[in-house]
C-alpha cells in the first residue's frame, strides 16, 4: 500500500470535475479539471493522442506536474497558481501550431484561464475554441477498409496525416470550413429530416427541448443568464488585461450562486448535458453502417 507524500493536500474520494475539449496542433485535447469543495482547482488531467503514443505520455506528464503544483501545500491560492501556470504555458508555439490549432501548452493555458471564471457546476457556455463536453461514448472510428489491408498512412484519424502538415505547406493549403450551404441530395435531405424528427422525440432530447422552452418563457431566468454570461465575458477580458480584482470575482461568484439556485436554468443545463450525452449513440448507429465516423467527416477540423 502506498501513502501520499505529506506535502500534498489529501484528495477526497469524489471530486466534481469539468472537461473541456480543445483542438491543438497535435489533435484534440481533453482537459479535465477537478475542484475541491471550495470550488478551487485541485487537479488537471490532460489527454491528447492515442494511448501509448509519445504525445499521450507527454500530455499525461504535463497534467501530472500541474496537479502536483496545485496539490502542494502552499499559502498561495490554487486559482492563483493556475493563473501562473497558464502564464507559463501560453504562447509556447511550434511550427505546426497556429491560431486555429494552438500548441498543447497554449491550448491548455486557454482552458486553464477559462476555468478561473467557471465553476464545476456552471451552465455550459460555449466559446469559440473549447467547450464542456461529455467525453464518454465516443464511437471508435471504423474505416471502409480493414486496418491491415488499408494503406498504413492514409487514415482519417492518423495524426501524422493532414491537416497536421498544413501549416508547413506553402501556397497549397486546403480549406476546411463548415459548409452548410452544400446542396443535399433529396434522399439524404429526406432521411436527415426524418432522423432529426426522430431525435426530437427521443427522451433526453425531448426533455431538453421542454426545459429550453420553459427557460425561454422565463424572462427573469433569461435575464439572469444573460447577465451572468456578460459578467463572465467581461471578467475574461479583464483577466486578459491583468486588471481583475477580488470584487470582480466576488461579483461573478454571487451571480453564479444565483444562477445555480435558479431551477429553470439548472434544469436547462442538466437536460442539455443529457441531450449532448445522447447524441454520440446516434452517431454510432450511423457510423457503424457507414463504416466511417460520421461526426469526424462532418467536423470542421477532422484529422
Amino acid at each position: 500500500m502506498t501513502t501520499e507524500p505529506s506535502l500534498l493536500e489529501a484528495r477526497r474520494r469524489v471530486l466534481p470535475s469539468q472537461t473541456a475539449r480543445i483542438s491543438t496542433a497535435l489533435g484534440t485535447a481533453f482537459v479535465t479539471l477537478t475542484r475541491d469543495p471550495d470550488e478551487e482547482p485541485f487537479e488537471v488531467f490532460l489527454n491528447v493522442g492515442k494511448a501509448g503514443s509519445e504525445t499521450f505520455a507527454s500530455a499525461e506528464a504535463l497534467g501530472r506536474l500541474i496537479s502536483l503544483a496545485l496539490r502542494l501545500d502552499s499559502p498561495i491560492y490554487r486559482s492563483e497558481r493556475v493563473r501562473d501556470i497558464a502564464g507559463q504555458l501560453e504562447h509556447i508555439g511550434s511550427t505546426t501550431s497556429g491560431a486555429s490549432q494552438p500548441s498543447i501548452p497554449d491550448a491548455l493555458a486557454e482552458v486553464l484561464r477559462e476555468s478561473l471564471t467557471e465553476s464545476s457546476s456552471d451552465v455550459q457556455l460555449n466559446t469559440s475554441t473549447s467547450r464542456v463536453v461529455q467525453t464518454e461514448a465516443r464511437p471508435k472510428k471504423s474505416l471502409p477498409w480493414s486496418p491491415t489491408a488499408r494503406p498504413p498512412t492514409i487514415s482519417l484519424s492518423n495524426p501524422l496525416w493532414l491537416p497536421k502538415a498544413q501549416p508547413l505547406m506553402k501556397g497549397n493549403k486546403r480549406k476546411k470550413t463548415m459548409n452548410t450551404n452544400f446542396p443535399l441530395p433529396d434522399d439524404i435531405l429526406t432521411t436527415a429530416e426524418q432522423l432529426a424528427a426522430a431525435i426530437l422525440r427521443a427522451t433526453p432530447i425531448a426533455a431538453f427541448q421542454q426545459a429550453k422552452a420553459r427557460l425561454d418563457a422565463d424572462a427573469h431566468a433569461r435575464e439572469l443568464l444573460e447577465r451572468y454570461s456578460r459578467t463572465q465575458a467581461d471578467l475574461r477580458v479583464r483577466q486578459s488585461r491583468n486588471v481583475i480584482t477580488q470584487a470582480d470575482v466576488d461579483q461573478l461568484r454571487t451571480l453564479q450562486r444565483e444562477v445555480q439556485s435558479n431551477q429553470r436554468i439548472m434544469d436547462y443545463a442538466e437536460t442539455q448535458q443529457a441531450a449532448i450525452a445522447y447524441l454520440p449513440a446516434v452517431n454510432q448507429e450511423i457510423s457503424q453502417l457507414l463504416g466511417v465516423d460520421f461526426a469526424s467527416l462532418a467536423g470542421p477540423a477532422s484529422c
Binding site: N179, F182, L195, L279, L290, A301
Partner: protein
C-alpha cells in the same frame, strides 16, 4: 418471430422513440453510403491503396515527419531538414491518386457537414460538437 423483430403492421407511433431513432439513423446512413460523394471517396481510397508509388511517397514523408516530430514541437528543425520535409510533402501531394483521394474526401466532408448542419439546426444542438470529431 424473434424477440428483436418488429411486426410490420406496427404503427410508427407505437414504436419507442429510441427504436424510431435507430431506424431513422439506419435510413440516413444508407442514403449517405449510396451518395455519389461517398462512393467516389471509397473508390479513391481503394485506388490509393493500390498505388504503390503513392504509398512509398507517403511513407517517406511520414517517416521524415516522425523522425522530426520532437524537433517540430520544439521549433528546432534545421533548414536542411525543413527543405527535405517540404520536398517529401510535395512528393506525395503531387501523386494523382493522393490528390484524387483528398479531393474526394473534401467533397464527402462538405456533404456530411451539410447533413450534420441540418441535424444541428433541427435539434437545436451542435451535432459535431456533441459527437466528435473523435479523432487523434
Amino acid at each position: 418471430m424473434t424477440q428483436n423483430s418488429i411486426p410490420l403492421q406496427t404503427a410508427t407511433e407505437t414504436l419507442s422513440p429510441e427504436v424510431q431513432v435507430h431506424a431513422a439513423a439506419h435510413a440516413f446512413a444508407q442514403a449517405l453510403a449510396e451518395s455519389a460523394e461517398f462512393q467516389a471517396f471509397e473508390q479513391a481510397a481503394e485506388r490509393l491503396r493500390q498505388d504503390e508509388t503513392a504509398q512509398q511517397a507517403i511513407l517517406a514523408y511520414q517517416n521524415k515527419q516522425q523522425s522530426l516530430q520532437m524537433m517540430l514541437r520544439l521549433n528546432a528543425v534545421s533548414p536542411q531538414d525543413q527543405a527535405e520535409f517540404e520536398r517529401l510533402q510535395k512528393g506525395f501531394l503531387n501523386q494523382p491518386s493522393v490528390a484524387a483521394y483528398l479531393q474526394a474526401q473534401e467533397e464527402l466532408n462538405a456533404l456530411c457537414q451539410a447533413a450534420a448542419g441540418l441535424l444541428s439546426e433541427r435539434i437545436g444542438l451542435s451535432y459535431t460538437a456533441a459527437c466528435g470529431p473523435g479523432c487523434c
